[in-house]
Amino acid sequence: MSTEFNLISELHNKTLIIKTEGYINNIGGEKIVRELEKHSDVNKLILNLEKSKVVNSIGISHLIEVIEKLNHVNGKLIFTNLDPTIEKTFNIMGLFQFAEKADSTESALK
């Protein structure tokens, strides 16, 4: 059964910007991990979740994997445009201990 999830990415030097759309579940989370793996020299990932309103814990486990991969290269993950429900979810799951958040992609790029 397919679920609707799409992402687009842009690379600015060593910063990768990924914009997602749809359910961040196993499929969505895997796609984010694969996208990061395509860019081995990236040390900063900006994840714009403006069009993702629902995330489950499997999706979160993939995001933790992304954080670990970036930590390994002294990189960092910045979430932007978070829906309040998702922000609360990430907070409870402890993601902000290892990742940052910003209001927009522009402010995350600074």
Partner: protein, 536 residues
């Protein structure tokens, strides 16, 4: 190599073993752990000819982890030759040393060592070093597994906190009235989050005609049949107000694929569905309460209209006594009476009853009252007045609404009565000598038809000692719990037996008698009565 020399050499290596352990424990994955170990082995044994494999259990096949060769290049039979000890050394063979190290989570690490760069085999120092390094790896792997389990536990604990938090938040949000338009969207999003479902469906079915009222899926473009026909599915439904609400979840996600839902997932699905049910029920009850409030306001308005029309006191007529009463039933009715001083010792005595109750009946009485006052100004013959009223009521009321109406113009000096009865119950004129005249002359009820059929009038004289009794059907048709009517006969009998009483007493007593008959049954219609007695 002598014993002392060996100890001395190993002592020098101790720091390197410690560093190796620290490097291994920093690994984030098993793959990284073994890759780092491979580098350590290469550094210690000065060879590139080292190949790493693993297998999930004793019976599994070996899988390559870190090697520069192809799978077909290796002879795994060497690994399978190992039984009791994890390491075996060979001379004059393809491999100089072979390791099959059991790890803490039933995994096996396999290592094939080829020849060293200088072509030599494993000496005593190498053998001890390898044993120590395997211990280091085994410890690092245990540490890695412990860390992994710890992370898993923290994740699971956070997940439970998240579920609880989500459940509370969802309950609050679903019960908020400003979220009613997104109730199902909110519920479906929360339930997939809570249960890790791949997809979900909410379907509302009208039970009476088996049609679908509404259907939403998550993700929104999904074919609902995919969920209904899914191998891994749980459902919950409830019925309310002739509708069935079905909640279905499909394919619980894990990192390794999809699986069936747990009992906890079923409970979570039920919890969310029950919250939606409570919200729908509350909304329905609120609407009902508002509707009840609206009806009550309408009835209060109708009652106010009716009370404004019903005269607070009747005019004084020389030589006559007059009394009247109007007791509305529980619902506001459409009964009406009046006695209007027309001047020149003339009085219009009126009683009317609108078919139906509520505000529409009250408004129709209001129309009748306003028109009546207007037409009486013109001193029209009563038959023409009735005809005009009929036309007006016919135009201003729906087909099922009409008014039974009686009017008598009393010339008080002479006792003459000009009468028209438009479909009302017969009015009773009880003569002094006990003879009863039933006055029916007139025509159809006002507003029933507009066919131009003229009304018929009647003239009578009310002499001293005569009594005129006007009433609505709320008196003869008043029913007790056995559905027995008070009846015309009992009413006429009461009139004959009590006609000598004052009009006030007569009215009071007939109401009492009707209530005696009705008993505990509810008053089903208005009770209206007017009693006129000529005493001079």
């Amino acid at each position: 190599m002598g014993q002392n020399s060996l100890v001395e050499k190993l002592s020098l290596q101790a720091e390197s073993f410690q560093e190796g352990f620290e490097l291994l424990t920093k690994s984030n994955s098993f793959e990284e752990l073994t890759k780092n170990f491979w580098h350590i082995l290469r550094g210690n044994f000065i060879t590139t000819n080292i190949h790493l494999f693993h297998k999930a259990s004793k019976e599994s096949e070996w899988t390559s982890i870190k090697t520069e060769g192809k799978p077909g290049d290796f002879d795994f039979s060497f690994l399978d030759k190992i039984n009791l000890t994890p390491v075996k050394y060979f001379e004059n063979e393809k491999y100089t040393a072979v390791v099959a190290l059991p790890l803490s989570d039933s995994l096996y690490l396999g290592i094939l060592f080829g020849s060293k760069l200088d072509g030599s085999g494993f000496n005593d120092f190498d053998k001890i070093t390898l044993q120590i390094l395997l211990q280091v790896f085994s410890s690092a792997h245990k540490s890695f597994i412990n860390q992994k389990n710890e992370k898993k536990l923290v994740f699971e604990l956070n997940e439970k906190i998240l579920q609880l938090n989500n459940l509370i938040d969802t309950g609050i949000e679903i019960s908020r009235f400003d979220k009613k338009n997104v109730l199902f969207d909110l519920a479906i999003e929360r339930i997939v989050t809570l249960t890790n479902a791949s997809s979900a469906l909410i379907r509302v079915i009208n039970i009476a005609n088996a049609t679908m009222d509404r259907q939403i899926t998550f993700p929104d473009k999904l074919n609902p049949d995919d969920i209904i026909n899914s191998r891994y599915k749980i459902e919950f439904n409830f019925d309310f107000n002739n509708k069935q609400y079905l909640f279905a979840l499909s394919e619980k996600e894990t990192r390794k694929g999809v699986t069936s839902f747990s009992d906890l997932d079923k409970l979570l699905l039920q919890a969310i569905a029950r919250q939606v049910q409570a919200s729908i029920e509350n909304e329905y009850l609120l609407k009902q309460s508002l509707e009840k409030e609206r009806i009550e306001k309408e009835l209060a308005l109708a009652a106010a209209i009716q009370q404004r029309i019903i005269p607070k006191e009747l005019p004084r007529i020389d030589g006559y006594e007059i009394a009247a009463i109007n007791i509305p039933s529980k619902e506001v009715g459409g009964d009406y009476y009046d006695c209007i001083d027309l001047g020149d010792n003339k009085f219009a005595i009126i009683i009317a009853d609108v078919a139906g109750k509520g505000i529409s009946a009250a408004l129709l009485v209001n129309t009748l009252n306003a028109a009546l006052y207007s037409y009486l100004e013109f001193n029209l013959p009563l038959t023409e007045l009735a005809d005009r009223l009929n036309k007006l009521i016919f135009k201003s009321s729906p087909p099922d609404k009409y008014i039974t109406f009686f009017i008598a113009v009393l010339h008080s000096k002479t006792g003459e009565l000009d009468i028209v009865n438009a479909g009302h119950n017969p009015i009773l004129l009880l003569r002094k000598d006990g003879i009863l005249d039933q006055i029916e002359a007139g025509g159809i009820g006002l507003g029933m038809l507009d066919l131009g059929i003229p009304y018929t009038g009647q003239s009578l004289v009310m002499n001293t000692g005569d009594k005129l009794f006007l009433y609505t059907d709320g008196i003869p048709e008043a029913m007790n719990i056995r559905e027995e009517e008070y009846s015309d006969e009992r009413m006429i009998g009461f009139l004959k037996n009590n006609s000598e009483k004052s009009p006030q007493d007569f009215i009071r007593l007939i109401v009492w008698d009707v209530r005696q008959h009705v008993g505990t049954a509810q008053q089903s219609d208005d009770i209206t009565s007017l009693f006129v007695k000529r005493f001079e």
